[in-house]
Each structure stands twice: as C-alpha cells, then as structure tokens.
C-alpha cells in the first residue's frame, strides 16, 4: 500500500497508480469526509440554537481548517520527501511503500 499524508494524517491507497490518479482518489475521499463532517456540525449547531435563547454580541467564524481538507490547485505534493512539480503528476508512477505528503500552501504574513 501507499501511504498518503494529508496535513499529517495518513490514508492508505493501492499502489501502481500515477501520482495524479492517487491525488484524485484522495480528493474524492476527502470531499466525502468533509461533507459528512459538515452535516454533523450543522446537526450539532441546529440542536444548540434550539437550546440557546440569547444571541452572542460578537460572532466569531472559526477558521475552517479541517485536517482532511485540501485543494489540489493550492498544494505541494511530496513523493518520498521530494516535491513533484505539478506538470509531472500525470507521469509519476507510485509503487508499494511509497510515501506521499500533501502540504497546503500558506500565504499569510
């Protein structure tokens, strides 16, 4: 199996795929997890809003930095500790025991 780390969290995928295919696969998985997580949060918020009669004066929107979330257009992908330029994702074949890590771009300063 190939281990894919998304923001430090491991996911296992089958080998013998190109890096591009693997990234599309984990994108789909990540999207499903994210939807489930959002549905769960909405359900909790709905229950809380029924309990709370008072609205807070200042509302803070928490940063939505899910550990599984990523955007393929804004990540760096490392294959066995080497970043693979995006143009080479479709050609690179991944093999058994390879390690892939995804890093979200950080732009703040």
């Amino acid at each position: 199996m190939i281990t894919v780390f998304i923001n430090g969290h491991a996911t296992q995928v089958d080998p013998k795929h190109t890096l591009q295919d693997i990234l599309l696969l984990v994108t789909q998985q990540s999207s499903q997890q994210s939807q489930q997580s959002q549905q769960s949060q909405q359900s909790q918020q709905s229950q809380q809003s029924h309990k709370s009669l008072e609205q807070p004066l200042r509302q803070v929107q928490p940063s939505n930095s899910s550990q599984h979330q990523f955007d393929l257009s804004a990540i760096a992908v490392a294959h066995n500790q080497h970043i693979v330029p995006k143009s080479q994702w479709p050609q690179l074949m991944c093999n058994e025991n390879d390690q892939i890590e995804l890093y979200n771009a950080v732009a703040g300063g």
Binding site: S65, A74, H82, P85, K86, V106, A107, G108
Partner: protein, 286 residues
C-alpha cells in the same frame, strides 16, 4: 558618495563595538560584517513578518533596507505586529516601521515606499534608484517576501526569477509556517516559488484563518537568519521547502525540484539574462 566610500573601508571603532558579538563568530568576522553593511534588501510587506524582519536586519547591520507596503495599521494587527501601538492605527505601516528602525542604527539607510508591489513599481524602483541598481549589478541585492496573499507572492517571485535576484519567501497562517529560498544564479535545479506552489488563488491567510504572534515571530526570525546566512555564504544553496508546525514545534524540510514548464523560471536555462530588461509574460503571473 562619501557614505558609500566610507563603507568600502574597514569597520569604524563604533561599528566594531556595536557588532562585536557577531564579529566574534568565525563565520561572520569583520569581512562578513562589512558584507552585511554593504547589502541592499527589499522587504515587501511590513506587517507581521516584515516588521519583525526589518527590525532584526536593521539591528544586525544590513546597510540598506527598502520597505514596500501600501497597507495601514489596524487594531487587529497589534497582537503580532509589535512595532506598532495604539497611536499607529491608521498610519502607513512602512512609515511606522521606518521611523522605529531608522533610529536604532546609524549604519542603516531605510527607504520606504507606501505602494503596492507590482511589476511596474519594481522595475521603476530598480531603474530610478542608482544605489539599488548598482547593488543589483554587484549581486548585493536580495528580496524578502513578507506579504499576506498568494497573488503578491507570485508577482514577487516572477520579478525575482526574471531578474535573477535572490528571494527568501516566508509565510505563516494558523499554526503553519513555510520558508523557501529562491536563487536563479546558484540554485537552478531547485526551481522557484511557483515550481512548488503554482496557483495564485490561495484563500487562507492570517485574516481568515487566524494566527498567534509568536508563530509569526518564529518565521520572521527564520527569514532574517536565512538571509544573513545567504549573504555571508556560510550555508550551501538551499534547495528545500521548510515547514514549521507551531503545534508540535517540529520542522520538516523537503527537497524542491524545478518544474521545466514553470513560466516564471524556465528562462533560467539561458544564461546572461541578468542585465537584460526582458518583459515578464502574463503567463508567468496567471
């Protein structure tokens, strides 16, 4: 001109006393300190990262700092941009930083530009400032990217890649920090910033995702340390993406590789581009 000619001589007694702890380091010495004094650095962005970096480099004896930022101080900046205080709110960031660091070191020449960094601005800056132009030709010019958005980062990278000017880009959001050194003169194989992050549409920054002041200060210190070591040539060319996890305090370094199709740096194969005034294609910025 007198100041310039003085700076090519050995350190004065006052300078020797001021920088003694740095000179004590064999990797620095008097010669290294002189190199720092002769260096010109453009700092783009004088918020969380830039204000810290400017203060540290000014104190360390970098001779010439050019500060570029069109932003003003807001109250929400104060927890992490600690050169500012309540009286700074509403004032230009570059002016506030320049005023604070200018007084800290008589060797320091600070020039500030309350403008947004665009290709046009950068070209004009290089054309119209003789000292900067000479530093560029003498390989005594570096750029520090301390901005807070990916669009600006791609513009800065494209300009530095085109002009073969060394770039140290640091960034920080939430509990993550990243640091990249780009140098088209001695580190072609590692590529540029865009080879790692080709997209300009990154949503998250400090305003949207939050950040703690000490995390910003860590990344600013690393950026200042990195540029000093690069100027002194005491480390090999940096071909890695350095990632800081402020939650675990771990650093991770991953090897970078040039993207042969990268529109920003593909001309690096052709030498002798430094003194040319080639126009940067729109493709390099999209």
């Amino acid at each position: 001109m007198t100041q310039q000619s003085n700076k090519t001589q050995s350190l004065s007694n006052e300078q020797f006393e001021r920088y003694y702890r740095q000179i004590l380091l064999t990797e620095v010495g008097e010669q290294g300190q002189q190199a720092l004094l002769e260096q010109h650095i453009i700092i783009v962005g004088t918020g969380g990262l830039g204000s810290h970096v400017a203060q540290q480099l000014g104190a360390a004896g970098i001779g010439h700092l050019y500060l570029v930022d069109d932003d003003s101080v807001e109250r929400s900046n104060l927890p992490r941009q600690i050169l500012f205080d309540e009286t700074s709110i509403g004032q230009s960031k570059v002016l506030c930083v320049a005023n604070r660091i200018d007084a800290s070191n008589p060797d320091l020449r600070v020039t500030n530009y309350c403008e947004r960094f665009t290709l046009e601005f950068a070209d004009a800056l290089l054309c119209e400032n003789e000292g900067l132009q000479q530093a560029y030709l003498d390989n005594k010019l570096w750029v520090l990217d301390c901005t807070d958005n990916m669009s600006s980062r791609q513009i800065i990278n494209a300009w530095c890649a085109q002009k073969l000017i060394g770039l140290v880009a640091a960034s920080v959001t939430a509990f993550s920090g990243q640091l990249i050194v780009v140098n088209g003169q001695n580190n072609i194989q590692a590529g540029c910033y865009r080879c790692v992050f080709p997209n300009k549409d990154v949503i998250q920054n400090c305003a949207s995702a939050g950040v703690l002041g000490p995390t910003v200060a860590v990344m600013a210190s690393m950026q200042a340390l990195t540029i000093i070591k690069q100027i002194l040539h005491i480390t090999p060319p940096d071909d890695q993406l350095h990632i800081f996890n402020a939650m675990t305090l771990n650093w991770q370094s991953i090897f970078r590789h040039r993207d042969p199709q990268c529109p920003a740096c593909r001309h690096w194969d052709k030498q002798d581009t430094k003194k040319s005034s080639n126009h940067i294609s729109n493709e390099a910025l999209l």
